[in-house]
Symmetry: C2
Subunit: 309 residues, 2 copies
């Protein structure tokens, strides 16, 4: 019976900033590290900072033509799309050739993709695969190192939804999402938190490469269940907004009967599910157009085997 | 000696939302009031809600071509601009013909223009003229009614800077700025505060029209002194960000020697002025492109004579 999993050394790591051009912590950090690579250098591996959506960064918008963080599917990457290609699809193919190709042995070992949210999520790690022991161990290491500051782990593995994220071209993708921060603003406190998370992630990989053995661990994660949209009127406009008692309450239990939305007339919509859930991305600015007021999650405990080189 | 000032009754009031299309409290309130005018109706006057920049609202951006809230100067409004006219200039002329013309007797009596900021300014009233007793009395009434919730008054009268705001076409313009709220987000708490301010403003006008006499008053305001830009590098990029000890400290004293900015390397820039000032619009998202990290203000006390019909 396998009680530990053996992995190859981490050779190539990328740090992506500006996947959304108005999420400024990652933009500023990556621009800074492009000039001061010594701050993220670790002797056992290559660490490459990279601005993934330079045109969106220049304009300080989320994207130019389409969301770069949703187009790393095989069809978009394969280049058989006809007509004028949206800027972000072009950019995705370029990124895939530099850091992928997705699903191949030649892809980067790890990509850390830096994001901000307007939601009160604190430091959050986004995990795509519940069976990736290496990344689970990395999340555990970062979470432990960040304590007592909280660092939640959001698992976006879902039978019906494929996100096709920018980072998904790496063998071990991880999203780093820190909030609350408005779009187009950089806050020193949020920047510091993000910088700490990145440094702990790099430390973990350096220790792993040096032969440190990480014992079996369990990791509590919030697994995405379902996206919940705002109530809307017949023309698609907002019919209600997030209720004050749900605002800023990411990761807190939402129990049957708890208020979710309130109309301009004061009418309240309550949660009618049978089980307690844990909302996240509550009132995220970028998700109004994606018809998402928040995401419902459930708490799940993942197990990872001991990890060694 | 005049000890009270006599004014005509308030006949026409406009409430503007969406002057900046991604400041959503005003957008939602005005859209709501367009359907439910009874909530803002007062029997002695016409109250007209109006979306000022509908294209920007539709796209949820600040503006399409140029900032609508800076183009109500005589040159832009007069129509002698050559070539293709920016959307907001066209729109300004339309608004001026509906609610102005600026500086004429036919202009609306009062325009309440609804805005949000990412700065921690709370409820703020923006006053353009230090000698307008009517508006000073209205600010005093609103401030008193809002207590114990704070409601600062920002005076933007400045010898060197003309703002040419959308509301400046009214005889008595007043900006209502509520934050913090990210662009593209609507928060129930901020919405409620804005709604309260508007209702107190309308109550004041109704009482005035009914013959209520308002005694002489003093009003403490924060007068704009100077805009302070972020430190920038040779290419114009941010060279430093707001220091954590200044972040969220709008209206709090900034004393000589206090930190203002911090670089990515931790280098701190301190305030070197001779007098205590009161920063506001600290780290407002929309002002990065206007080269403004915050505005320095000083406390000034305005006096208004008694007011009666």
């Amino acid at each position: 019976m396998a009680t530990s999993s053996s992995h190859s050394a981490v050779r190539r790591v990328a740090i992506f900033g500006g996947t959304h051009g108005n999420e400024l912590s990652g933009v500023l950090l990556v621009k800074h590290w492009l000039k001061h690579g010594e701050e993220i250098a670790r002797r056992s591996m290559e660490v490459r900072p990279f601005i993934t959506n330079p045109k969106a960064v220049e304009k300080c918008v989320r994207y130019i033509d389409t969301d770069l963080n949703r187009v790393f599917d095989n069809q978009s990457l394969s280049g058989d799309q006809k007509g004028k290609v949206p800027y972000e699809i072009e950019q995705a193919r370029k990124i895939n050739s530099l850091f992928g190709p997705k699903g191949s042995k030649n892809g980067y070992d790890v990509i850390l993709d830096l994001h901000n949210t307007t939601a009160h999520m604190g430091a959050t790690l986004i995990l795509e695969n519940s069976r990736d022991d290496f990344t689970i161990q990395m999340c555990k290491y970062i979470q432990t190192s960040m304590a007592p500051e909280s660092c939640a782990v959001l698992l976006i593995e879902h039978p019906g939804v494929k996100y096709a994220t920018t980072r998904s071209i790496a063998k071990h993708p991880i999203g780093i999402e820190v909030g609350p921060q408005p779009q187009g603003v950089v806050r020193a406190d949020i920047l510091r938190t993000m910088k700490n998370v990145v440094n702990y992630a790099l430390d973990f990989m350096q220790y792993f490469n040096e032969g440190t053995e990480f014992p079996p661990c369990s990791l509590e994660v919030y697994r995405v269940l379902e996206k919940i949209d705002y109530p809307r009127n017949e023309s698609g406009d907002l019919g209600a907004i997030i209720h004050p008692s749900l605002q800023d309450q990411d990761w807190k239990p939402l129990n049957p009967g708890d208020p979710m939305f309130i109309t301009m007339d004061g009418e309240v919509t309550c949660y009618e599910g049978e089980n307690t859930v844990y909302p996240t991305f509550v009132n995220e600015a970028a998700y109004y157009e994606k018809n998402q007021a928040f995401a419902k999650t459930e708490k799940v405990t993942l197990m990872a085997q001991a990890l060694r080189l």
